[in-house]
């Protein structure tokens, strides 16, 4: 639990701009997240020291307390030693460790995390859509280690048509989570044994959690046909 003295950040900003209560119409899409640039995949692992400034500058210096900062601890070093350039970035956000890894090696890194680093429990797998980025999807894995009582987040970037290696062979629980990510984002997981929609009907068109899928959008044809609702809404 963060209990730092300098956490008045948000409340300090609120009196200044009470009019900001009305949210931007774009549904929070306006401001692309600065610390997650599509990092050049060829970044060599060696110049670790040069990395923190590279990750930091795009952010305005105003809110320095919270938010991602570059991370370089023993764990990250071990990962970099093992996988070298496949570990693209490492940061810590709200004291939570995040590793951005190469998509192609996601399953291998997951297996290594489970067996060698003892992150034996996959608590969550999901995705985030950043449509303005070159590779629009973040695949996010939240892992937990019973032995170390630690969490680690793995992230991989994927373009709209790129396939992501399935981690279902590493953790059986990933089966439904990957199906959900496929259902909601249309991300295809390579090697998944039974990739199909899970929450929405099989015939549904579109992927609702993509940012370009408006909240009022529906597969009106499906609704009309299957539910007999004329308007489709």
């Amino acid at each position: 639990m963060a209990n730092d003295p300098e956490e008045k950040q948000p409340s300090a900003s609120s009196p200044k701009e009470p009019s900001a209560a009305t949210p931007p119409a774009a549904g929070g899409e306006g401001a692309p997240k600065p610390p997650a640039p599509a990092a050049p995949a060829a970044k060599p692992p060696a110049p670790v020291a040069a990395k923190p400034p590279a990750a930091a500058p795009p952010r305005p210096p105003a809110p320095p307390k919270e938010g991602p900062v570059a991370l370089d601890n023993e764990l990250v070093k071990r990962y970099k030693e093992k996988f070298g350039p496949a570990i693209l970035e490492a940061w810590s956000d709200r004291k939570q460790a995040i590793l951005v890894v190469a998509r192609e090696l996601l399953a291998e890194i997951a297996l290594h995390s489970r067996d060698e680093e003892k992150f034996d429990w996959l608590s969550d797998l999901t995705a985030v859509d950043w449509p303005k980025r070159e590779k629009r999807f973040d695949i996010v894995l939240n892992m937990y280690s019973f032995e170390k009582n630690e969490r680690l987040r793995l992230k991989a970037h994927a373009g709209a048509d790129e396939r992501v290696p399935s981690v279902q062979g590493v953790w059986s629980t990933a089966n439904w989570m990957e199906r959900e990510a496929y259902d909601m984002f249309g991300i295809v997981f390579e090697g998944h044994p039974d990739l199909k929609r899970i929450l929405l009907p099989e015939e549904w068109q579109g992927y609702p959690l993509r940012k370009d899928y408006d909240i009022l959008t529906q597969d009106t044809a499906w609704v009309r046909e299957n539910l007999g609702i004329e308007s489709g809404q």
Binding site: A20, G28, A31, G67, R94, N142, F146
Partner: protein, 380 residues
């Protein structure tokens, strides 16, 4: 374990059925599926040789809605996921946003949150016990359990005016001060409650029918439970001593003494024992908490317009059903960029196929019951 990872292939159209095999649909309108869960069973006589859960009938797109509401506006929506444990959902969400903001609720608010959340755990387990026993054929426990649950709901009603979808907490603390007799009410409920649990045990634990229907049914070993991502009583019933309240304390749990009950065999009976013991432990936490509720403010300084700095957070709590996690991404606007909810029921249900294979049709209801799923949370 390779064979378990092969596709289930229970669709009638995907599989060639043997001469004795049939496909049976259970649900979505079946009283013991606790909502709109449809289970497709592949049967060899009365034996289940494959299954597939078909879910989504209650899908409301909660995660999409979250992206179009402000942080505060979204808080009531989370109550509608696990609607028998709304207080826990609210706690998880409020704490996740607080973490994202770098704020924290004041001590008084945290203790009151803990009391209400533990009462909610008892209420949720009571509801589970009543319905689970009803599914298996014991009618009486339902009346006993709902009698006690009613007391808890009355406390919620007195506190915030709502019984089920309470929206009891706010980001940064509490909206309502504890009412005058909260401690007394909690004490009046908790003091005799261990005797009540003894009553349930007298009805069930030694009951030959109960034991026959639950012992050895739906076994999940510790290794399998971890592999399937199970959490909460399902994981602990398999002997893994892990509880987020202890491992990564939140609210005020670090101040109280309690045990983490575990099972040995990972069967339905063990999970039943674990949940009963958890009710006793929750009672102890409540009794400790009302002893000393610190004075002070109930709302932290978070401001009226919440604009968390850009970044992301994953925060999880031990909900009655397991790990309830919130993964929230902020882009420094008043609305979350992405809210991902890790629902314990959804992920525990995934182990259903593993647990049911080789058992009889009658055990399907026992296993659905022991997983303690709420479809509002499975489908979101």
């Amino acid at each position: 374990m390779a064979d378990q990872r092969t596709p289930v292939a229970t669709h009638a159209d995907q599989t060639v059925l043997g001469a004795d095999e049939i496909i049976l649909n259970m649900g979505p309108q079946h009283p013991s599926t606790h909502g709109v869960l449809r289970v497709k069973l592949r049967l060899d006589g009365e034996k289940v040789i494959g299954s597939e859960c078909i879910i989504g009938y209650l899908h409301r797109g909660v995660e999409k809605i979250a992206e179009h509401r402000t942080y505060q506006q979204f808080a009531p929506y989370v109550d509608r996921m696990d609607y028998v444990a709304a207080v826990s959902n609210g706690l998880g969400y409020c704490e996740a946003v607080e973490k994202l903001l770098g704020a924290e609720a004041p001590p008084r608010a945290r203790v009151i949150r803990t009391i209400l959340t533990e009462l909610q755990r008892i209420a949720s387990h009571l509801f589970w016990l009543g319905t689970h026993a009803l599914d298996i054929g014991a009618l009486t426990p339902l009346f006993y359990c709902l009698r006690e649950r009613e007391e808890i709901l009355k406390i919620f009603e007195k506190y915030c005016g709502a019984r089920l979808t309470t929206h009891a907490f706010r980001i940064g603390g509490l909206q309502y001060e504890a009412y005058d007799t909260l401690e007394k009410d909690v004490e009046r409920f908790c003091k005799p409650f261990d005797k009540r649990v003894d009553e349930y045990e007298a009805l069930l634990t030694g009951n030959r029918i109960w034991v026959g229907r639950t012992k050895g049914i739906g076994i999940l070993t510790a290794k399998e439970a971890i592999d399937y991502g199970a959490s909460g009583p399902v994981l602990r019933g398999s002997g893994v001593k892990w509880d987020i309240r202890k491992a990564m304390p939140y609210a005020a749990y670090d101040q109280y003494k309690f045990e983490i009950p575990t099972g040995k065999n990972g069967d339905t009976f063990d999970r039943y024992i674990v949940r009963l013991e958890e009710m006793r432990q929750s009672r102890l936490i409540c009794l400790q908490a009302i002893e000393n509720i610190p004075a002070g403010p109930i709302m932290g300084k978070v401001g009226k317009v919440l604009k968390p700095p850009p970044g992301e957070v994953y925060h999880s709590i031990e909900a009655p059903k397991g790990e309830l996690g919130y993964y929230i991404v902020s882009d420094a606007t008043t609305q979350p960029y992405r809210v991902r909810i890790r629902p314990p029921s959804f992920i525990n249900l995934e182990a259903f196929d593993k647990m049911i294979r080789g058992h009889l049709v009658a055990d399907v209801v026992a296993i659905i019951g022991t997983l303690d799923i709420v479809l509002g949370e499975v489908d979101r």
